[in-house]
Subunit: 354 residues, 2 copies
Amino acid sequence: MGHENGGGSNNSSGDSGATGPVRTLADLARLAGVSTGTVSRALAGKSLVNAETRERIQALAREHGFRPNQMASKLRSKRTGVIGVVIPLGHEKRQHISDPFFLTLLGWLADELTESGYDVMLSRAIPDGTSDWLERITGSGMVDGVLLIGQSDQFEVIEAVASHYRPLVAWGAYREGQVHCAVGTDNIAGGRIAAEHLIASGARSLAFMGETKGIEINERWRGAEAAAQEAGVPIMRIPISLASDDMARQIAEAAQAANRELDGIIAASDLIAMNVLRCLHEKGRAVPGDVQVIGFDDLPLASMTMPPLTTIRQEIAGGAKAMVEKLKALLEGNPAESMKMAPRLVVRGTTKGA
Amino acid sequence: MGHENGGGSNNSSGDSGATGPVRTLADLARLAGVSTGTVSRALAGKSLVNAETRERIQALAREHGFRPNQMASKLRSKRTGVIGVVIPLGHEKRQHISDPFFLTLLGWLADELTESGYDVMLSRAIPDGTSDWLERITGSGMVDGVLLIGQSDQFEVIEAVASHYRPLVAWGAYREGQVHCAVGTDNIAGGRIAAEHLIASGARSLAFMGETKGIEINERWRGAEAAAQEAGVPIMRIPISLASDDMARQIAEAAQAANRELDGIIAASDLIAMNVLRCLHEKGRAVPGDVQVIGFDDLPLASMTMPPLTTIRQEIAGGAKAMVEKLKALLEGNPAESMKMAPRLVVRGTTKGA
DNA sequence: GCAGGAACTGCAAACGTTTGTATGACAACT
DNA sequence: AGTTGTCATACAAACGTTTGCAGTTCCTGC
């Protein structure tokens, strides 16, 4: 391990002529006096090769810092060891991965995947009206499988691709009978819980803040709307773009317009909730005194706002783990069922609690 | 373009027997009645091939949803179009990519890289005492170049690898004469500015909160310490681990121990600052009335705390852009110089301002 | 002492591209 | 008309692995 030079048996300098850098199996084979096939097997640690020879070859490889070319290996073995993680930007024009929910999920996915020995290939995809954005990734032989961070408004495209490309798991909504495997939260229930909590805490006029074009947020809206109607409480919908600079302005305008009446705000995500909080603070409205606010996601930063944010928790870490497990099942040819996780109310300081 | 069937010249159904799925250039070549070489050139859009033939082949490819196998392509052309983005976890045992600074930088890097037509391969590397963690990535022929998100405590390893592997750019510190290209903030200046601002705003007893083993944070500490000494203000150093659950506890303990005297806290990062803020709030100490707090990074979430966080801004987006540009220069064989960006004080609500 | 296995190892054929060179056709110039 | 040149395409050699199959050696049991 420690010193290598000075030992004597090594040929680190001047042996049988200038042995250039060892770049290929063939080079190493020549050095070891065996065939490339044997070297390949030895490095793969297969038992087909004599233990002693294997050790010798591995030592030689280490000494010369040799690493087999992955492209060649992958081409031949038709297995890349790479999972594509794709973020469909969908309707959002702003071309950013920087959304904290995406990043959080990505972090957990990356952890799980590397844990399982996979490499992660990150792609930001901008749907273009065809299914090309996805098939470019699935069909290139570059990845063994694909993980989708969100469905955006591309449900049909994903279905179409999944019908002929098996190893694909998406974070998002599950609709009865869909073919692609999805892991996500029960957003309708989540929306409902949020509205019910607000109403139970005394809110009498609600607003839902979020752009409802994406499937998931649309479901949250529908859940909230249903709960409000059942309770006979008025609820309005205020679309908020996710592009962060617009967001503040839009929220300000919305708050302006609906100034007095509102006393309960359901934000479609924690990110929106944080902006709402700040906006209300600037307007001098007390939270939760004048207005109660509830978020969605329970990102790490939700507990750091002032007051800490009441929110609907999605099990992001658990979901990431499930996504990877299901993908692995699919890669092995086994079926994988979609999974809908129950959302959980986390009461903190922005609602009057129960 | 529009309809293809019914024209007559196409063989989309029933022609010369069941033309199975088109998987290789050879398949397509047979269909088009040309050689694989021509198909390859046609799909690459090279001018060596007759415009008409090229169109025909491209149309055929589209029709059959053919995509050339990337592994084969990359093997042959020795160019992968992939950039490895590596997060060295270094001294931190906790194996998480989820640090918000990392994720923010990663987001920008991914945006810049995909913009330039590169794919992004994400690796979480756990340094193991050797340089293997890095060479495994650089030496595998899997990526064209490597971007390091932070140097952790692996400065020497990075230097060693960079001496024989050119296309490598790191976010982090620049030391006189280093061989690897680094892009980062002048952390010493940043630490100094933070301390000076606190002192100018009336702080008389400072604390620096952060683990100073990593190069960058160590520099921030040195800058702050120097400024404090010059002003004759006492400053203490409180190591804070970055593992988020420990963090809160450690901060609470530290605050306990140094209870009364402290009136100025320099957090080594915004994340730490947010935890400090929350902790102080729980203890009932007013910010900035009793204690002033300043962060470092200016992450998006810095403006969302209550009160909004005064911090030292690093140009993360600009830095990401620079990293990618420098990497591209290196990939083209040109030299690339390290870059040290000036930090900027952003005064918000957690200090008494000036 | 010999047949029948084990246990290893070598050989060579893929994997699916890209690309340098050769070939053929046809136009243009002398 | 012969030569030169251009253009379009075919041919075939890489790229560096993995892996089925076929040897080779050596041992075991009869």
